[in-house]
Amino acid sequence: MDNGLLEVNNIQVSFENKKSKLTIVDGLSFNVNKGETLCVVGESGCGKSLTSLSIMGLLPKTGKISGGQIKFKNNIISTKSEREMSKIRGNQISMIFQEPMTSLNPVLTIGKQIIETVMLHEKLNKKEARMRAIEMLRLVGISSPENRVDAYPHELSGGMRQRVMIAIALSCNPELLIADEPTTALDVTIQAQILELMKELQVKMDMGIILITHDLAVVSEVADRILVMYAGKMVEYTTREKLFANPLHPYTQGLLNCIPKLTDEDDGEDLYVIKGSVPSPDAMPAGCRFADRCPIARDLCVSNPPPIVNDDGHEVACWRYTDKWDTEEGGLKNVSESRRIEKVPS
């Protein structure tokens, strides 16, 4: 664990009001090492973003970490006060967000927004901080940074703004960078540039990265390890090689099938979609949360939450890989047509 950076143990994120409590993220564990990229994959609403916000200590007011713990460099950070967390945020752990168009303050120059971060965490004077800001802008590939440093966000394109966001995030040499769908809002060509930039800077700064995305094409490019989430739970967690070579969970298989392959010889092949939709958090099924949509679900799955099976570092939460699977009788009884992965004409 010398290389270990972040360790998330069995965390639970819930939203509470007077009347009810909704648990959105339930029993999630993973870790990130130095210089490594962990990709968190899942459909929107599966709790990916909340997981990252809980690491930052930035959950919305009504939400909180209701179980488990988060360790950063062997210190528990999930119970730290706002004041203590603010010393870590932007300094040791940084974050970039999905919407570069709205994530920068429109009334402040980009330079000011970088300088502010630098001066907050490091003992630099204004002039030195400005130098650092220019340096950072150059690092993220913005041309003539001496002039751009005084530009306002609206004067830059989306891709440029995301570069600025990265510059802000990296301005204090963080050890961990959390990127929440950093390229979703951008053009495909810009996406590639931004990902390339992040990879390059990761090597330079020996950072751990958590990349949250629903884009498996991106994952196959940059991930070292992958965590697949479904409805607030982990479904599969392993290295990139293992996952792409041998996806174990039916949901992962479904996701991989959803990627259209241009190289397929069979041109007439139909697009795969996973039928049905994610269960809503206030009506979570008792058993496996994917059972409702799973093509191979059995009675067992509907009524009992699956255990996590660890096959040589390849973790999967599915009954299929347990001894119980074979002993269970008449498994397909309750599975209706709609739960199958269906072919839809493209």
Binding site: N91, N105, V107, I168
Partner: protein, 318 residues
């Protein structure tokens, strides 16, 4: 920027022209004889004729208007009917008093509204929010003259803390001058304060949900810095425009407040002019108020673009 200002200046000129026409027609186009209106029913025919002659009321309307506007441009606003002093010098004498009241009232209004607006937005749904919202609602619902009377009743008559009315120049007796200004400034400033609280609360709520606020927290900034350094600046942008628009309402409040508290400013001048039918004075004072409103709104437009760099000053539609 330059093109925008030029265009905006042109627009301002047109509006001022229309303003002058409205003021002129108020007295001259309405049915009835202006001279009779000014002197009242019991005036003698000779007096009426003399006044008509003096004011040029026997000339054709357009000529009267041109004469008046020509005079106004040269700073000649006519003379008061009451004592024949030039209207301009009366205005210049009253203006500082109203400016003093305005500054006091704005300071008080902002001192209440900014904390109240921020608190009720950041602590939405708590007792702070209810207090702020109730203040805003009461403030826009209480008539300034009732508030003025209420203040006199509480602070002068019951508690005896403040002098009930009157005015002293600050350089004559600073302490007394300030004491006399407190109640009028509150009476007139509360409404403005309430409007700003309301605006600021809603724009603050909108801003606090913005992505860049989350970014600010993710940098490690603490709550106070985020609110003052990032949220307030954005939330104030719509408030500034309202502040400009409120100035007109504010002058209306000055008429009432200056009457209640016997403050010899522009507002008091207008109402005295109306009650004594001294129309040149009324015209002059109303013109001055309208001009100030138009100019302030022009400045607010420029300020708006400085506060919000996204606004490009290319001179588009108003």
């Amino acid at each position: 920027m330059a093109r925008f200002i030029v265009r905006r200046l042109g627009l301002m000129f047109v509006i001022l022209l229309l303003v002058s026409m409205i003021i002129f027609s108020l007295v001259h186009i309405t049915p009835g004889d202006p001279a009779l209106m000014m002197l009242g029913q019991e005036a003698t025919p000779e007096a009426l004729e003399a006044l008509r002659e003096r004011l040029g009321l026997n000339l054709p309307l357009y000529e009267q208007y041109l004469n008046w506007v020509g005079g106004v441009i040269q700073g000649d606003l006519g003379n008061s009917i009451k004592d024949n002093t030039p209207v301009l010098s009366i205005l210049l004498q009253k203006l500082p008093v109203t400016i003093q009241l305005t500054v006091f009232a704005f300071v008080i209004a902002l001192m209440i509204a900014i904390p109240a607006g921020i608190l009720s937005a950041t602590k939405k749904g708590t007792i702070w929010d209810y207090a702020g919202t109730s203040f805003a609602l009461s403030g826009v619902s209480i008539p300034p003259f009732f508030l003025g009377i209420l203040l006199i009743f509480i602070f002068s008559i019951t508690l005896g803390w403040l002098p009930p009315s009157g005015y002293v120049e600050p350089w004559v007796d600073l302490k007394q001058s300030i004491l006399l200004m407190i109640m009028p400034a509150i009476a007139i400033g509360i409404r403005l304060s309430a409007e700003i609280t309301r605006m600021l609360r809603s724009s603050m709520l909108e801003v606090l949900g913005a992505d860049y606020i989350r970014t600010a927290y993710s940098k490690g900034l603490l709550g106070k810095t985020v609110i003052v350094g990032h949220a307030l600046r954005n939330a104030l942008i719509p408030v500034v425009t309202i502040g400009g628009l409120q100035l007109a309402t504010f002058f209306g409040g000055a008429v009432i407040t200056e009457t209640i508290f016997a403050v010899p400013g522009l507002g008091r001048l207008v109402i005295d002019g109306i009650l004594t039918r001294d129309f040149p004075v009324v015209q002059g004072a109303v013109l001055l108020m309208a001009v100030v409103v138009v100019i302030v709104n022009f400045v607010v437009d420029i300020l708006y673009s400085i506060l919000d760099p996204r606004i490009k000053l290319t001179g588009g539609q108003s």
